[in-house]
């Protein structure tokens, strides 16, 4: 049985293994070092336990495990407030119209404005999954379990959410948007900049990022094409997020030009459709596959299960599911359709 739960110190090996095997191409904000990861899990534990309030950089890290062996097969995160108390950098795409009445010409001029407008929004991130699971339901479980968590801890999160989607990178690891823009100012390669940006102090961005708006027409052709485009490897993530109601807005990542998707939290499909029910054991093994979650804070667990509904406030799932979730009959759960 697949289970999504808060990351714990004993998951470090599994997370590092997963990240080492599958993160070479796909950038992620999962720390690469043991120390970084230990600190991140501690921060996450303090966030789940409620030791940190919403104003204190809550950063949640979930893992996807097989309940039988507790092997980590995926990682996903939520930052309570984008920027974690510091400015969160994006480019906002806008257009000016340069028009000469006398000469009868008019031209649309695309401009990238440095923006911190998304600072403080709840941010999804740090998504890594074992490649073998990319087409499985476990993918959807890992991605959406976070939203079920948000639904059951609504006041910890902001009214608007965002998620940064990785941008275009060639098979040789080149990032056309970075090569045309950021590289000139940060004097480092994309990997390095991306790694620094995962750290807490964003002072280096304030120090190194060009402070003035950028004319898109002056970027390389490849960079212009990459602007606002998602990496092909993020296809399934993006599709799931779009089904949830996320839409591409006006914002792109300052490093790779990848799109930032936005949504009003209250419009998320998972939040609209999930319901609080009382869970009872069922004999039947089949039923409608749903996301099923129980537990508050550090005890949060989410899985996929075949659900049968009996009375208005009661749903039934196989006893094995109750065991897997560590949950007793009659306990309150959140349930959301796939």
């Amino acid at each position: 049985m697949w289970l999504v739960r808060p990351a714990q110190p004993q998951d470090i090996e599994g997370i590092m293994k997963l990240a080492a095997e599958h993160c070479s191409q796909l950038s992620s904000t999962v720390p690469k070092t043991r120390e970084g990861l230990e600190a991140r899990i501690e921060l996450s534990s303090n966030s789940f336990s409620g030791a940190l309030g919403p104003d204190q950089c809550q950063r949640f890290l979930f893992v996807l495990v097989d309940s039988r062996d507790q092997q980590v097969q995926g990682v996903a995160g939520i930052d309570g407030r984008a920027g974690n108390g510091q400015p969160f950098y994006n480019y906002r795409m806008d257009a000016l119209i340069h028009s000469s009445h006398e000469l009868g010409v008019s031209r649309r001029v695309d401009v990238l404005y440095p923006s911190h407008a998304l600072t403080g929004r709840t941010l999804l991130g740090a998504f890594v999954i074992a490649p073998g699971l990319c087409d499985s339901d476990a993918f959807e479980l890992l991605s959406r379990a976070r939203l079920v968590f948000i639904a059951s801890h609504r006041d910890w999160f902001s009214d608007d959410m965002a998620v940064e989607i990785q941008g275009i990178q060639t098979e040789h690891g080149e990032v056309p948007f970075w090569d045309s823009l950021g590289r000139h100012f940060f004097d480092m390669d994309f990997e390095t900049a991306d790694r620094y940006s995962g750290m807490l102090s964003k002072t280096f961005i304030a120090e190194l990022m060009p402070p003035n708006p950028i004319y898109v027409t002056l970027l390389s052709g490849a960079a212009q094409q990459a602007l606002g485009q998602a990496h092909p490897a993020t296809r399934r993530s993006v599709s799931l997020l779009q089904q949830e109601g996320f839409h591409g807005g006006s914002y792109v990542d300052i490093f790779d030009g990848g799109p930032v998707l936005e949504v009003r939290t209250s419009n998320l499909k998972t939040l609209v459709t999930c319901q609080r029910k009382s869970l009872r054991a069922s004999d039947a093994e089949d039923g409608e596959q749903c996301l099923l979650a129980c537990g508050q804070g550090a005890d949060f667990r989410c899985t996929l299960a075949g659900i049968s509904e009996s009375l208005n406030e009661v749903i039934r799932a196989p006893l094995s599911v109750l065991h897997g979730l560590g949950c007793e009959s009659g306990e309150d759960v959140m349930v959301a359709p796939l």
């Binding site: 000469l103 045309s180 000139h184 940060f186 004097d187 280096f204 003035n212 004319y215 027409t217």
Partner: protein, 355 residues
């Protein structure tokens, strides 16, 4: 004798011939008869103080008195940017540095400015091919500095010259191709022409207003910023020797440099002396090389005249002039004239003494 004097309406044909020979490049004097006639009128109004001081356009003719023909022209525009808007890019430095990461990057950046507004421009220098010798170009150019200094209150303290930027034989400018053409739906030549005749509203409408980070432009465009067209290199060298410096302003279309100087720092101004005229009937040896000649100006605002005489004419308090030269300058014995070397006075004293 070669004589500097105010441009007159009789010079129109000579001027038109010179403008035609110059071709493109000299945008302030296009080969357009009506426009040139208008410029001559404007110059006459300026010398006669019939226009606002700020609108003054002082055009000087170089007359070959034997040929009674105008063989060169040079000008001073009292103030730019008061009637239209005068644009430049300023090449500025943006530094992005992080001590923590050990990164220190200098990014040359173009800022759109109108910083030359209300400043005096020296402009419109043209010399017939037949007379490109013997320091005639120097005379045409440097006579203006004596005028500027003698009539300071008509001009700004700082003066500047716009130098033609790099373009190829077909008139293609690398900077325009990389920058201007991305924002203007026209050819470089058209933009240059519209600017030259003072139709500049389109710049305010179409020009990018935010700073341009140079690393975003291709190398051929970056390389021409602040560089002059090869035909303009001698003029630039002359102005540099005169004390003009490139201080970061460039043309918004072709990137040609603006060079500037404070009038009191200009070499011709610093090396000028005044002397009283002494008429002497010994004829001058006109074969003296340019390096041993001095410019003599009559210091007249309305009928400014300058010619050159051998340096040996100068005495501690006076300068001896033969009657024909005095007549050409419209001066008499006892009048105060202004002198300045036509060419370099040689290296500065510190370097002469050794070391």
């Amino acid at each position: 004798m070669l004589l500097i004097r105010p441009l007159q309406s009789g010079d129109l044909d000579d001027l038109m011939a010179m403008a035609e020979a110059a071709g493109k490049g000299l945008t302030t004097l296009p080969a357009n008869r009506d426009l040139l006639r208008q410029k001559i009128t404007q110059a006459q109004d300026s010398f006669n103080q019939r226009c606002e001081p700020e609108a003054g356009l002082f055009l000087f003719a170089l007359e070959d008195t034997e040929l009674t023909r105008c063989v060169g022209i040079s000008g001073i525009q009292a103030r730019v940017g008061l009637d239209e808007v005068f644009y430049n890019y300023r090449v500025s430095t943006t530094v992005n540095a992080s001590r923590e990461l050990g990164v220190h990057v200098r990014t040359p950046t173009l800022h759109l400015t109108n910083d030359m507004t209300d400043t005096t421009e020296i402009c419109s220098l043209l010399l017939s091919a037949s007379h490109r010798k013997g320091g005639n170009g120097l005379l045409l150019s440097r006579c203006r500095f004596m005028y500027l200094d003698d009539f300071r209150r008509h001009f700004s303290d700082k003066v500047f010259a716009e130098m033609r930027g790099v373009s190829d034989a077909e008139g293609h400018s690398p900077l325009w191709d990389a920058l201007g053409s991305r924002f203007f739906d026209m050819e470089f030549g058209q933009a240059d022409y519209l600017t030259g005749i003072g139709q500049k509203a389109f710049i305010a409408e179409l020009m990018p207003k935010y700073p341009i980070y140079l690393p975003l432009l291709p190398a051929p465009a970056r390389e021409v910023i602040g560089r002059v067209h090869e035909n303009t290199a001698p003029a630039l060298r002359m102005l540099r020797e005169e004390g003009f410096n490139f201080n970061g302003l460039v043309d918004i279309f072709d990137g040609g440099p603006v060079v500037e100087a404070f009038i009191h720092n200009i070499r011709t101004v610093r090396e000028s002396v005044n002397r009283h005229v002494l008429l002497r009937h010994k004829p001058l040896d006109q074969e003296v090389p340019a390096g041993e000649r001095v410019m003599v100006s009559n210091r007249s605002f309305r009928d400014f005249r300058v010619t050159t005489v051998p340096a040996y004419c100068i005495s501690p308090d006076t300068i001896s002039l033969p009657p024909d030269v005095a007549e050409a300058l419209e001066v008499e014995s006892g009048d105060l004239v202004r002198l300045a070397p036509l060419k370099d006075a040689g290296p500065a004293p510190i370097h002469a003494a050794g070391g």
